[in-house]
């Protein structure tokens, strides 16, 4: 099935077509489940003016944080950006714009974007700064706000395994935003720990069907841990 083999062998191929001022949707929660190599490739390409949609913006020197170093990000749509001194600095300088979005609304905006739903109503954020300027409507006596969906020119996703057709599975809580991001990119690129043959992942256990995926690349991951907390054995 040549037409369905989505494996590419270089990061250049993986991110080919990414240009200045595009919107990139990224999977990951903190540093967990992030497409490390695809982010590094974006840094290497030097594209700028990006709008990045991701729950967080990495930390100084790792994850999406490295795209701040050369001011590649113009606007960040995220739910929490508190782990990053450079981010703060650029925000206060006015070099960076941020659109804070409730975490569940952000996840649903990506899902809706991928699912052809242009907008949905949610109670989240009603009566708060998030709801300002948004349409309010009552359903069953309760007020909700209208939230538009999000799509991106690119989606960058980290999966555990993918087969050559792009069928993906995620490992543990490294799943997080990745499945929704995968559906919401015009071009969706998945960086994986292991590429397997079609049929190796049982059909009902596939988290992201290959129809959403354009390119698959095998990466090497540092998997940095943000807050290691342990108990004694």
């Amino acid at each position: 099935m040549a037409g369905f083999d989505k494996v590419v062998s270089s990061y250049e191929e993986a991110m080919a077509g990414l240009e200045d001022n595009m919107t990139v949707i990224a999977g990951g929660f903190g540093l967990c489940g992030i497409p490390e190599g695809l982010i590094a490739q974006i840094k290497k390409m030097g594209v700028s003016g990006l709008t990045v949609v991701s729950n967080n913006c990495g930390v100084d020197g790792f994850g999406l944080g490295i795209l701040l170093e050369d001011r590649q990000i113009r606007k960040m749509i995220a739910s929490y950006v508190g782990e990053n001194a450079l981010f703060e600095k650029q925000l206060l300088n006015g070099e960076l714009e941020v659109e804070l979005t409730p975490q569940g609304t952000l996840a649903e905006k990506m899902r809706a974007g991928g699912a052809g739903i242009p907008a949905f109503y949610t109670a989240t954020g009603y009566g708060t700064p998030v709801g300002e300027g948004k349409e309010v409507r009552e359903f069953n006596g309760r007020p909700y706000i209208l939230e538009p969906s999000i799509t991106g020119d690119f989606a960058i996703v980290k999966a555990w395994k993918a087969d050559r057709y792009g069928n993906c599975v995620y490992r543990h809580t490294a799943q997080n935003f990745n499945p929704m991001a995968a559906t919401a990119g015009k071009i969706t690129v998945v960086e994986v720990e292991e590429i397997v043959e079609p049929g190796e992942i049982p059909p009902s256990q596939i988290h992201t069907p290959g129809i959403y995926v354009n390119r698959v690349i095998k990466g090497n991951f540092e998997k940095r841990i943000e807050r290691k907390v342990t108990r004694s054995a």
Binding site: G30, G82, G127, H172, T173, H207, R227, T230
Partner: protein, 218 residues
Amino acid sequence: MALSREQIAMRVAQEFKDGSYINLGIGIPTLAANYVPQGITVMLQSENGLLGMGPYPTEEQVDADMINAGKETVTASTGASIFSSAESFAMIRGGHVDITVLGAFEVDQNGNIASWMIPGKLVKGMGGAMDLVAGAKNIIVTMTHADKHGNSKLLEQCTLPLTGVNCINRIITDLAMLEIRDNTFHLLERAPGVSVEEIKQKTAGKLVVEGDIPEMQF
């Protein structure tokens, strides 16, 4: 005497019912997991996509792919499920989580809560807090009754930007447990040794005190 952080967490845990699904915020709420009453089992939901959060891992169990919403390494308990962020917030937004416990800067007598933004200070984001307060069936707020300067955090009307409106029904502070109904704080219990007078004095919003107010039991 005012309760310690641990004592607030202990009192919170007394509210847990057997078979409850619970989301605990960062800080004092997380401590409540250590004080679940005997004979009661609860399942902890972590909004990054884990239902059935277990204890912190041993050094050998540490796994970068296994974290909680506070980005700390964790484990999964037996019978846990793991899913996407969209599914996680479908649970939360859809009212399937029984109890949410979270901290706050201010709560007012209308059940409004402010917990994420102090104007003039750098805004780091609301994370999942707005979704949690909009979706949970029962929300318990934990905080100190007054700030460092003695100013009440239980107000007639919140002064800070809100996290959610008309959503809080229970507050457990270092001085008291209160319920909000009919746009009024109702005093239910007081911390051992704390007088009703002190609570009255430190509650800026409308406070109703009906009958004898029992001390918390630990």
